[in-house]
């Protein structure tokens, strides 16, 4: 599989994702053309066609993020939510910070 697309489980597919290849049903008929944009309705219908995985284009070239630069920007954005501050009063801000860090730095998150 090349670098510009990836296979994602239908359960992880999101509206807005773009198909990187045509999608065939179990009889070999074309369900969706290459380049089709997924919507909620389309994703729901894939389940009905017993399709488990969809090939989608990666959002931008999927480079590993430059961890240090990303972390520095996040530290700046969250400068009013000090990591070691009195976390009792700002725990929601802390959670948002942790989740956005996990998201940007692509840390593995336990389901």
């Amino acid at each position: 599989m090349s670098n510009d697309h990836e296979l994602v489980p239908v359960t992880k597919a999101l509206p807005g994702m773009v198909l990187s290849d045509e999608l065939l049903d179990s009889h070999g008929l074309v369900l969706l053309a290459k380049g089709a944009v997924l919507s909620e309705a389309i994703i729901a219908s894939l389940g009905r066609h017993q399709i488990d995985m969809v090939p989608v284009a990666r959002v931008e070239a999927h480079r590993a993020p430059d961890g240090a630069a990303v972390q520095a920007r996040l530290d700046f954005l969250f400068r009013r939510h000090a990591r070691d501050g009195d976390s009792d009063s700002d725990w929601a801000g802390h959670l948002l910070r942790r989740y956005v860090e996990d998201y940007r730095l692509e840390r593995q998150v336990a389901p």
Binding site: L14, P15, G16, M17, V37, L38, S39, E40, A41, I42, V59, R73, F76, L77, F78, R79, R80, H81, S89, D90, W91, A92, G93, L95, L96, R97, Y99, V100, D102, Y103, V109, P111
Partner: protein, 279 residues
């Protein structure tokens, strides 16, 4: 000299107004017998507005199986309320002139508003709340800033410069230098433009969702606004994540896995919508 509330409301008539047909749509919210065919025809007379509305209706966020090509069709497939909100979004993003207040970055303002709208829509789906109302509320939550920029460009320029210099709180700086803040200005404009009570409440309370009577929409917009700042989508070098209410955060009750999906979906819809609305 400080600006008074009366001074502010007296000048609302001088503000750029929404197209007449959009005002009419806003006024017809509670009208059971609104003549949709006639309204659709009136909107269709404005070609730029129609084109923007239809591109938005056909974007993946709305998940239509068929492409709609007329306002009438959009109303049939998406419903009257959803279409009305799209027309409002399409008309508002082009309605305020830019450039009179150098420190105000109107592109960044709309990018933040659209990011908040996209996130509010995603959150509303998780909460089984009306997604169209959440989208519109997210889009208009900061509209008071446009009132201040348009009415008092030089003085608002000074507010923004001071805020950037001291890395201060925007609302506090507005109150200290101007005497009023953008939440108050937003409430005044929402009343003047005859926004629904629900939207007015969201504009008034998005910064204080814990206040009694703030309503759940204010909770959604509060968190969506914080997420939009945290995802750094406005493209503002001085970006800062505002306070996040623990009460509002808890009320949404989402797991970390759900939040990461919300972030991803918000970014995808944001890209698509900015391409349409800020074209």
């Amino acid at each position: 000299m400080m600006v008074t509330f009366d001074d502010l409301t007296a000048g609302l008539d001088d503000l750029p107004s929404l197209p007449a047909v959009v005002m009419e749509l806003l006024g017809s919210i509670d009208q059971e017998d609104a003549d949709l065919t006639l309204l659709a025809k009136k909107v269709a007379l404005d070609q730029a507005l129609t084109a923007k509305t239809l591109r938005l209706a056909n974007s993946s966020a709305f998940g239509l199986q068929v492409k709609v090509t007329t306002i009438q069709q959009a109303m049939t497939f998406l419903g009257f309320q959803a279409t009305r909100n799209l027309i409002l979004a399409a008309s508002m993003t082009g309605c305020f002139p830019s450039g009179r207040c150098p420190a105000f970055d109107d592109k960044a303002f709309w990018r933040l508003s659209i990011a908040t709208a996209a996130c509010a829509r995603v959150l509303a789906r998780h909460m089984h709340f009306n997604q169209d109302v959440a989208f519109t509320a997210g889009l208009v939550h900061g509209i008071g800033r446009l009132v201040l920029v348009t009415r008092y460009p030089e003085r608002y320029d000074a507010v923004l410069r001071e805020c950037a210099r001291a890395d201060g709180d925007l609302l506090e700086t507005e109150r200290a230098l101007l005497g009023i803040d953008h939440v108050l200005a937003g409430r005044a404009l929402a009343e003047h433009w005859q926004f629904s009570d629900t939207l007015r409440q969201a504009i008034a309370f998005y910064g204080q969702p814990d206040m009694p009577g703030a309503g759940f929409l204010a909770t959604i917009v509060h968190v969506a606004n914080a997420v939009a700042h945290a995802l750094d989508l406005a493209g503002d070098a001085d970006e800062v994540v505002p306070p996040v209410s623990s009460v509002a955060w808890t009320a949404l009750g989402l797991s970390e896995e759900a939040w990461l999906q919300v972030f991803r979906e918000t970014e995808l819809q944001f890209e698509e919508m900015t391409a349409i609305l800020l074209a």
